[in-house]
Subunit: 312 residues, 2 copies
């Protein structure tokens, strides 16, 4: 990924679709992933290995991974809640496996019915399984509710740091920070990133996952980038949220994020015109679902050239 | 204003209402301004002195100013397009008068039917009139289309700087930068602010006026604040735009801006709960108008304390 400045990691097919009641047919998911890869995306989280009884929207994840693996230049990512999910993910051949670790233990119990110690044990078992593979996938832990929890309220920043340290010791390759609840503000993003970077090394935290629940998503992304973060999760049309964190809806909008980055002269490798076309797939497939974002309606500025570094 | 960190200048009654076809009755405008002042706002742009034939929505500006002047601790601001408007503004007793100067000459001709030299002459005449007053109002020029123009496309940054210098020489007390068209990105905001600050002195540029046309409004506000800007214009519910710059709609949303600032530990002097109540006035008065912003729907984070500087 040396040829791009920022990796925009599309999580719509996972985080977006898991929060929508409608079940998107596999062929539409595949078409979406294909179109977005064709627009220049290098990483897409295509689904999660959770029991279909809990999230029937994700039941076809192995098939979606298989289709995505046929695309060139695409890092195929999936989410797993536990060891069983990781086994499915490894069997599918996904390149990247993420496990959410809720820093709010209350949220952890609600979300995956495990306390912190149980989660550390599970992460260790997955890390061992991953390490035993001939071509091990990249295994990452996302520190969810890192900026606050809809149940607990404020989340201790020391606990975030200690959780990050512990997860590294459990054997993950990297941790990320997730604003699951849309509580983060730019000052907090800067402060918490610096704390975690200083504790585990900046090379071990390269990504953030932000929501736009209170409209601060892109401001938080800006703060993260300016602190050295190089991977930003986002969701086409801003769909998504967490079904177990009430009121916490809406990932940051891929279209507006990519516009912001390219306008700032940061190369994402993404063709914005093609990206705006991908939105039509969602609009057609999910006609009743609100799609967020302003750039699709406003269009690109007159004379806009992507990745332009102006110095007049 | 020494007791607050950032002055959020509400421009909804002017920039918002001028772009809406419906004419809000004077008593509703007065109730809106009163409620927002009561929520802690220190500055509100309550209207503009333009011919009623052009903007009938602003015909009662003198009355709205008169009512606003009865409120304590409120800086009453108005916009004027020309000398005649400034005469009206001065007669009304407004504390602050802003004139837009379009750096895009094409936009200037469309918006106020004057080229740059005619605008400089007009600004000079207004500055002389202002200086001749016993209690002169604060007279400011806003550099509109500073970040790009929907007609011309890119706008020369050198021209922005030279216009700022020239306007200061014409006798304005201060200049501001306006992203009339929603073209700005955070990198550009930083770069252009630094250029103008370096040319005319940071003390002569303390405010920015941003639109959320492509969703980057708060990210741009963050960049501006981090460059030392202390006054941010915004509009309740994000209403507003420029009727002469097609597709350039939506000021940054006051509710989300205030939430961001207070969450960052920056004191605005504003009571967010009261602010969220003010929105109901607009919703009732303009039932067909879309209101923007996420914080009003999401509510404040659990346990949120305004102006909190966390250091756990």
């Amino acid at each position: 990924m040396k040829d791009i400045d920022i990796l925009v990691s599309e999580v719509g097919p996972r985080d977006g679709l898991q929060s929508i009641a409608a079940i998107l047919p596999t062929e539409i998911k595949n078409a979406w992933v294909r179109a977005q890869a064709d627009a220049g995306f290098r990483e897409i989280e295509v689904g999660s290995f959770v029991p279909p009884s809990i999230l029937p929207q994700m039941a076809d994840t192995a098939e979606v991974v298989a289709a995505a693996l046929t695309l060139t230049n695409l890092n195929v990512a999936v989410l797993v809640p536990n060891l069983r999910g990781a086994e499915g993910a490894i069997a599918s051949g996904a390149h990247k496996i993420s496990i959410p670790f809720s820093v709010s233990e209350t949220h952890s119990l609600k979300n995956v019915r495990r306390n912190h110690q149980q989660m550390f044990d599970e992460v260790t078992r997955i890390a061992e399984l991953v390490a035993a593979q001939e071509s091990p996938p990249h295994f990452e832990a996302g520190l969810s509710t890192a900026f606050g929890c809809t149940i607990e309220g404020a989340v201790s920043e020391d606990l975030v740091v200690r959780s990050a340290e512990k997860l590294m010791r459990c054997g993950v390759a990297e941790v990320g920070l997730s604003d699951t609840t849309g509580y983060a503000n730019p000052q907090q993003v800067r402060r918490l990133l610096r704390k975690v970077q200083s504790a585990i090394g900046a090379e071990n935290i390269t990504g953030v996952h932000l929501h736009n629940t209170r409209g601060l998503g892109l401001a938080n992304a800006l703060a993260a980038i300016e602190e050295g973060i190089t991977t930003i999760d986002s969701s086409l049309g801003g769909i998504g949220g967490c079904p177990f964190a009430p009121g916490a809806s809406g990932n940051i909008v891929t279209e507006d994020l990519v516009f912001m980055l390219e306008a700032m002269g940061l190369n994402t490798g993404i063709d914005i015109d093609k990206l705006l076309d991908v939105r039509n797939i969602l609009r057609t497939a999910l006609p009743d679902e609100p799609l967020y974002g302003f750039t699709p309606d406003a269009g690109l500025p007159k004379g806009f050239r992507k990745g332009e570094k102006r110095n007049d």
